[in-house]
């Protein structure tokens, strides 16, 4: 049985520990007594994945019938799949979505289904390119369906978006018309983190701005403690999405949910040391690390980016579950926790996070400063259950160079958000009240979202809100190694080294502060007691 995650206490025997910092990493000595949270070892993958998928489709959970019984000639079938934002890094091919799609399509073909469309559930994310889609769904699916029956969702195609109803909290539920009118939606999901999957798949993945604005807002985010803890009452965003999902069900939208979970094999074997605990590094691992670090530090930025872009995760599937949404998701979360949950005793004054090169919104792109904020104070900060790793009013120290750099194709509205909005204020509530609607309805951003590969105009706002809880909770945020101008624009402070950052943190938490380093990736959730 793989070892569970654990909390190390740094002593004089502890070697320098690896800290991610964008497109690179450093070996960092931590003060004695620092707690370091390590994820559990990787679980073994399912040996016969095809058999597991078949078993899941034929033995569904909850009140759902087996998939073959739900398919018949003359029906309208829509298959929705998660987009490129998961898993991270993109997994080696064949992608698990391809494996599942092939099984589902095979069953549909045998049942005589003609009206079948596959929609990539991008919501307001950027459209995936044809090459990215081919890589994700495989050659056979791509050749059979692209581009007419295999496409990205267009949430701004108002003629093809339907308002299904309103929840008892007044939340408008809007999804793609085709999906709403289908006899069956089969949703193929990858559940990389606890906020993925469940009702979020359809109610968010196939939704547009009219629906998303009800939960992707500052108030909801401030009441999601944490959004990585989907238990009722812990995450306002999850509760809102659940209400929307239940409303879809009550309005006759029939969903057959297929959810998968991955193990923790995040990095390929040539970077295997990134998956291991430092004191267990062999001489080869140490040499690889030192060599790769030197090569990476010396490489021109373009080469470095290309190197990281090409990393493919050798994830193995640890669970495939299918059937009724809530029943499936409950099992999925159990599976996910088996891989990711680490028990931690109590909070600390200072939490340290190394921000890696990739987040959900910069695959094949640049992690711009807004995404750095989102990944650090949004995703990594929220990787907890019960209470944050850092106490209220404590200090978050993040490692990242925060370059003033944007991908003009993927993130055009981010550039304006950074230059215009953040130059005026960094207060999420003020930003929401003053700027959100203008960006969300800007015709140029909508045009780029629909025809190019741009994130929607409102997306940088969501990224900013995503970190609102972390920002609100921490007394100070310090970026180690961050570019001064971009860190200042984000409204944070910077330091040249961890030592300096800890010295600066004394202003907020005093001397003798307790420190916790969240050693991720691989992804984990700290269950802070």
């Amino acid at each position: 049985m793989p070892r569970p995650g654990f909390v190390l206490e740094v002593d004089e025997r502890t070697p320098p520990l690896l800290v991610h910092e964008g497109e690179g990493y450093r070996m960092q000595k931590f003060p004695l007594g620092t707690r370091v949270i390590y994820p559990p070892d990787s679980l073994p993958g399912i040996d016969d994945l095809n058999a597991a998928i078949k078993h899941a489709l034929l033995n569904p959970m909850g009140d759902s019938a087996p998939l073959p019984d739900l398919l018949h000639a003359g029906m309208k079938l829509t298959i929705a799949v998660d987009d490129i934002s998961i898993p991270l890094p993109p997994m080696i091919t064949p992608d698990v979505r391809q494996r599942i799609l092939e099984h589902v399509i095979e069953l549909a073909a045998r049942a005589g289904v003609d009206d079948l469309e596959i929609v990539v559930a991008t919501a307001l994310h950027r459209r995936m390119t044809a090459a990215e889609i081919r890589r994700m769904v495989g050659e056979r699916v791509y050749r059979s369906f692209w581009p007419k029956a295999l496409y990205n969702l267009d949430a701004e195609d108002t003629a093809n978006m339907t308002i299904v109803g309103q929840t008892d909290h007044g939340e408008t539920v809007q999804i793609q018309t085709r999906a709403a009118e289908s006899d069956l939606i089969v949703y193929v999901n990858i559940n990389l983190v606890a906020m993925d999957g469940g009702h979020k798949s359809v109610a968010v993945g196939l939704a547009g701005y009219e629906s998303l604005k009800h939960h992707h807002n500052v108030n909801t985010m401030l009441h999601s403690k944490s959004y990585m803890d989907p238990r009722e009452g812990h995450s306002a965003i999850n509760d809102s999405v659940n209400r929307m999902g239940r409303l879809l069900k009550d309005n006759g939208v029939k969903i057959f949910q297929i959810e998968t979970t991955m193990n923790a094999d995040t990095f390929p074997s040539q970077l295997g040391f990134l998956n291991k605990r430092e004191w267990e590094w062999s001489a080869k691992d140490q040499a690889l690390m030192a060599g790769a670090k030197q090569a990476n530090d010396l490489a021109p930025p373009r080469i470095r980016r290309e190197f990281f872009r090409r990393i493919e995760a050798p994830y193995k599937v640890t669970g495939v579950n299918a059937g009724e949404v809530e029943a499936v998701h409950e099992r999925t979360i159990e599976n996910l926790h088996r891989q990711q949950l680490v028990e931690v005793q109590g909070q600390s004054d200072i939490a340290i996070f190394g921000i890696p090169y990739i987040g959900p919104y910069n695959v094949n792109s640049v992690l711009n400063p807004i995404l750095v904020h989102c990944l650090g104070l949004g995703y990594l900060f929220n990787m907890y259950r019960n209470q944050p790793i850092v106490r209220e009013g404590g200090v978050a120290i993040l490692f990242h160079p925060v370059p003033w750099e944007f991908n003009t194709i993927h993130h055009p509205s981010y550039i304006d958000f950074f230059e215009e909005v953040l130059a005026e204020t960094t207060d999420p509530k003020q930003i929401e009240a003053t700027f959100e609607e203008r960006y969300a309805k800007d015709p140029w951003y909508i045009h780029l979202y629909r025809t190019s590969h741009a994130y929607h105009g409102v997306h940088p706002f969501y990224m900013w809100y995503w970190g609102a809880h972390g920002r609100d909770h921490c007394g100070d945020v310090i970026f180690v190694g961050g570019e001064p101008k971009s860190v200042a624009r984000l409204g944070y402070r910077r330091a040249d080294s961890l030592r300096d950052a800890l010295e600066m943190a004394k202003d907020t938490v005093g001397s003798g502060a307790s420190i916790t380093y969240f050693h991720a990736p691989p992804i984990m959730i700290a269950d802070v007691k």
């Binding site: 654990f6 909390v7 190390l8 206490e9 740094v10 002593d11 004089e12 025997r13 502890t14 070697p15 320098p16 070996m27 000595k29 003060p31 004695l32 007594g33 605990r277 004191w279 590094w281 140490q286 030192a290 670090k293 030197q294 001397s511 003798g512 502060a513 307790s514």
Partner: protein, 302 residues
């Protein structure tokens, strides 16, 4: 940081060329066993205390006084202190425990035991018996979390015994003070007892690691007892360890200068470090073994 510096850091951190070590908290869990080792309670019985007094006053102290030029300061700090306490000092010689036990005022000496490394002092019967009898010793597991040792220490403190510990864990290889481990501070926090700093100056020069008898020529050894430190409310063990280390450094400074200068320098945060010089290993040993100068009038008869 240059490539060379990075590699040097790695070599040091990963102990290239030496046996790799696993951080203590990452060591595999082993079932706790009931082995309490060599019994030592007899050495703290009335007879044991009396025997120890005879050995220390009648045997050890005369030897120490003959072989060393021993100076003791600061025992007056202990006069009004209610026991029990934890005595702790820098550790550079096998003389240290003997010096503390010999120089403690009688009230303290008869109710004080020394925490001694189980792997060294409790390996063969005769050494176990000697350690228990002469030092009132009880075994400490170095680097294993030491639950047995902590519970033993707790038991002793509950019975009103003071204990002597060396937070560096092992003797200094070069005479300079090493980083303090957190066992003593954790214990003090848990038990709420005071910590008495003791600076032992010159013991390394007199009898460094590897020697079994002091050097010839009555080398100067100075003992300085400091004021008792109490854990503060909400204080972390890391912070308390730092304060403990500071207190010993201040006593060293007091020895070099005077009480007032040491005090003012401590207030300004300018107490000289005892970490020793950076650079090649021989420099540290060279500086650490520099003889302690004799002060006062020169001897008439040499």
């Amino acid at each position: 940081m240059s490539t060379r510096d990075e590699l040097r850091e790695l070599a040091r951190g990963f102990r290239w060329g030496r046996r790799p070590l696993v951080p203590r908290s990452a060591e595999p869990y082993t079932e706790p066993h009931e082995d309490i080792g060599f019994p030592t309670d007899w050495a703290r019985s009335k007879a044991g205390v009396a025997a120890r007094r005879v050995i220390l006053r009648g045997g050890m102290l005369p030897i120490v006084s003959t072989e060393l030029s021993l100076r003791v300061y600061g025992t007056d700090h202990l006069e009004d202190v209610p026991g029990p306490v934890i005595f702790y000092s820098n550790h550079s010689s096998h003389l240290d425990a003997t010096l503390i036990m010999c120089t403690l005022p009688e009230r303290w000496q008869k109710k004080t035991g020394v925490g001694a490394a189980r792997d060294y002092f409790f390996d063969v019967w005769w050494r176990q018996a000697f350690t228990a009898l002469v030092y009132g010793g009880f075994p400490i597991d170095r680097g294993r979390g030491g639950q047995t040792a902590i519970s033993k220490a707790r038991e002793l403190v509950d019975e009103g015994w003071s204990i002597v510990v060396f937070p560096e864990g092992t003797r200094s290889p070069d005479g300079h003070m090493q980083r303090f481990r957190h066992g003593a501070s954790r214990l003090a926090l848990e038990l709420g007892v005071g910590l008495v700093p003791v600076a032992i100056i010159g013991a390394y020069q007199a009898m460094p690691k590897g020697r079994w008898w002091p050097r010839r020529g009555r080398p100067v050894v100075t003992m300085r007892y400091g004021e008792v430190l109490y854990p503060e409310g909400g204080e972390t063990h890391q912070h308390l360890s730092t304060r403990m280390q500071q207190a010993v450094m201040q006593l060293f400074d007091e020895d070099r200068t005077d009480w007032f200068q040491a005090l003012t320098r401590a207030e300004r945060g300018e107490t000289p470090s005892l970490a020793g010089p950076a650079g090649a290993g021989w420099r540290r040993t060279w500086e650490g073994s520099r003889p302690v100068p004799r002060r006062g009038r020169p001897q008439t008869w040499k």
